[in-house]
Subunit: 410 residues, 2 copies
């Protein structure tokens, strides 16, 4: 017998799922669609409701939570799980905040929760981590997880646009929200990385504990330097196992052409995994958009209907289970508008003046990156990780080639 | 209660699976291991048997078929399916020949058959096609599916080895079999592509109907020409939907650096898919070896144990369901040792003499490629597809730059 499906939200993602179900399998269409805004015009052939309880209180088997309001989304998902229902969600912010509680509810009430679209939307990375890496030990996970940021970087590198022009184009093309803050400051990426860390390493990490910097301060000067070195800058999210435990960072990073991430352009996302059994695996696909995201939701729905639930294999694994948000050092290029700004971040480092900015190459700790967030934001300091692409010497050399004044050497 | 697992075969793949299960979850270790050779020394702590019926006749829940003998493998898999058992197999040749029958047995007797390791060993491509592309329409699937061939091509391009040296190195490193015929003549790839076509397009295609040429005739001359054009040669397996139906080819092909397949080196495999909902997706991972292949088998086992079976979503899809083995034209570069050889393949084409060989650029049909197999093998004719990388003019230009004699122009 066909399952009864209730849908919350009919925006970009909800409509994507709907159009796929309509083309493919009518019995996976929703019986009721809950939305919020009573003034919007709606297709009169669909049965819309403005009361979540029309689904929550009724005999629906599967609930699809695809709304943009994290609080209401939390209410919907937890209520459905408490009734032992099958749930699909795409709400990364909300999921990254509540996954441990949801896992508990699944166990207690026998429901299930799938959320493939919540990280790297179109790429089946969560299902793959959950099934294909069963029995494996992941050493490193690295990815490009925000389509807007990657689109902006591609436009800076390939088309020579300014940051402002690139951001505007991303918005015009629907790759960045009207308020792009969460996209460009890396916050969207930290939600996704938190979810991936749970599936890859079996540890729940609050996203605020992941040292994060987005692309918001990347400007032409950084692009010119990278190009001089034959490299590109990508916003890389990285988590790995070290002797101390799991470390993670999100930082603009130099990448070279030998790295598959170098070739990921525009709105594409990608994930690279190094594991004991499988060696290196690499996945690339669309990270946002109505059909790619709707397709992941639809795939979750078909899996859910057939009884699939995440095994959370890694939660029972043999890995180091501590998370070390303050451990780990990174070699980075720092650029600021004033000598003082750079000195407050890396007091000891050699400073070079180039392209009307102050630069240095220094080793900074994750702890410092966390502690100095206010300074970094206020002074619009650009930080780019070297990421095994170039040596400090190469970078300093490239900076000095057109050097105007060498400010200090201590 | 722990399921009873029976294992057939304890070679490269069987031992890979075994070592993963041993590290991860002891209740997924086999109770009995059936092998063939009574003279081999075996670990006395494991319970080996030389009689398949020790598993086939008994109360085992899941059978892992990992032997190298296709006939016996067919017997094992069909017997298990007829008893409604869960089965995992890695035997691409055997599967490509018998899948329709096995699907029938699954339906009739309620068992299930998973075979992730049979195509692109370490990459979870079959599960992904089966779950993630549910409700999607795949337009094109393209991949590098044989690690030995790709390893040889990498050695030709990156290290400047001769074909014979590269093949020897592939064998020494365990990437090619002692008898490498099936690897280098593309036959291994056609088994894999036949399996992938079933999951991607919902159509069973006998592998012999796929026009196929391997890397066996690729020599330094071809490499030099490709490098002059700034391109590489990869052995590309390709299937796509055209107005007439599904077409498929396996041919050495030029690829350019913008194509992710260009960067797939050595023993790695990869698959690129273009679909209506997801746009372009790209996966890369190891295509052979004890742990990568064992990991796919182990993942299948955990999925199987949890009740997962393939949905064969595309078998019920909306796609053109005819296969057109003889349709489709390809622009190719042809190289032969004699003018006559080249004329027997492409009688009308302009012939250029370069690097002591006869060349031409021509459009050939899939039908011709099939019909002329004997000629191609006997004359060791090299055929490389242009694959949207360079124009006929570019290639002829490159060939003529160092031209010694232009033989004929008609
Ligand atoms: N867009 C993407 O590419 C993408 C990719 C991955 C994940 N996601 C996630 O998917 C979710 C949905 O994103 P979207 O892009 O589809 O958003 P959207 O286009 O802004 O649509 C949001 C929908 O949610 C409904 N809604 C908002 N608040 C509600 C409430 N309190 N009660 C009931 N309905 C409410 C809206 O109702 P009205 O129709 O009445 O306005 C609208 O239908 C978000 O969690 C997002 O992070 C999006
Ligand atoms: N190697 C790879 O990387 C790879 C990758 C993907 C798929 N595969 C597929 O996986 C399968 C196994 O390959 P492999 O590389 O592991 O082969 P292998 O190393 O040659 O081992 C073959 C095993 O099968 C056993 N065997 C052979 N014939 C048998 C028979 N009639 N009855 C019972 N046992 C028999 C052998 O027994 P003895 O121990 O007594 O010799 C041996 O244990 C093949 O179908 C292959 O195509 C392999």
């Amino acid at each position: 017998m066909a399952k009864q499906i209730g849908l919350f939200g009919f925006g970009v993602v909800g409509q994507g799922y709907y159009s796929i179900a309509k083309k493919h399998q009518q019995n996976l269409l929703p019986k009721t669609i809950v939305v919020q805004n009573k003034k919007k015009e709606r297709n009169p052939e669909l049965s819309f409701s403005f009361d979540p309880n029309d689904i929550l209180d009724s005999n629906y088997d599967i609930g699809l939570e695809l709304i943009s309001d994290p609080e209401e989304a939390y209410h919907i998902v937890s209520t459905l799980l408490k009734s032992g229902k099958k749930v699909v969600s795409a709400n990364k912010k909300m999921l990254a905040a509540h996954l441990p509680e949801f896992l508990q509810l699944e166990k207690e009430f026998g429901g299930s929760l799938l959320y493939e679209a919540a990280a790297a939307a179109g790429i089946p990375i969560i299902t793959t981590l959950d099934t294909h890496f069963a029995g494996d030990q992941i050493e490193k996970l690295e990815g490009i997880l925000n389509g807007s940021s990657n689109y902006i970087l591609s436009q800076l590198f390939e088309e020579g646009l300014t940051f402002e022009e690139a951001l505007k184009l991303a918005q015009d093309n629907g790759f960045a929200e009207a308020d792009p803050t969460l996209d460009i400051n890396g916050s969207d990426v930290s939600s996704k990385l938190a979810i991936l860390i749970l599936h890859a390493f079996g540890k729940f990490v609050p996203e605020k504990d992941i040292p994060t910097l987005g692309v918001q301060h990347i400007r032409k000067e950084d692009v010119i330097l990278a190009q001089k070195l034959g490299l590109k800058i990508k916003l890389i999210a990285k988590a790995q196992i070290t002797a101390d435990g799991i470390t993670a960072f999100i930082l603009p990073s130099l990448v070279n052409p030998k790295n598959a991430l170098y070739w990921v352009e525009n709105e594409y996302n990608s994930v690279k995994i190094i594991s004991r059994n499988l060696g290196e695996q690499f996945y690339k696909g669309k990270g946002a958009g109505s059909l790619p995201t709707g397709a992941s939701v639809y795939a979750d729905l078909t899996k859910s209907e057939r009884g699939y639930s995440y095994s959370y294999d890694k939660l029972n694994g043999e890995l180091p289970k501590t998370f070390q948000p303050k451990s780990g050092n990174l070699e980075v290029i720092v650029r600021a508008h004033s000598e003082n700004a750079i000195k407050s971040l890396v007091p000891e480092a050699e400073i070079v003046f180039n392209q009307e900015a102050y630069w240095s190459v220094a080793t900074i700790s994750a702890q410092l990156l966390q502690e100095k967030q206010t300074l970094i934001q206020e002074e619009e300091i650009s930080i780019v990780a070297l990421n095994e692409t170039a040596t400090k010497k190469d970078v300093l050399q490239a900076l000095k080639e057109e050097v105007k004044v060498t400010i200090s050497l201590n």
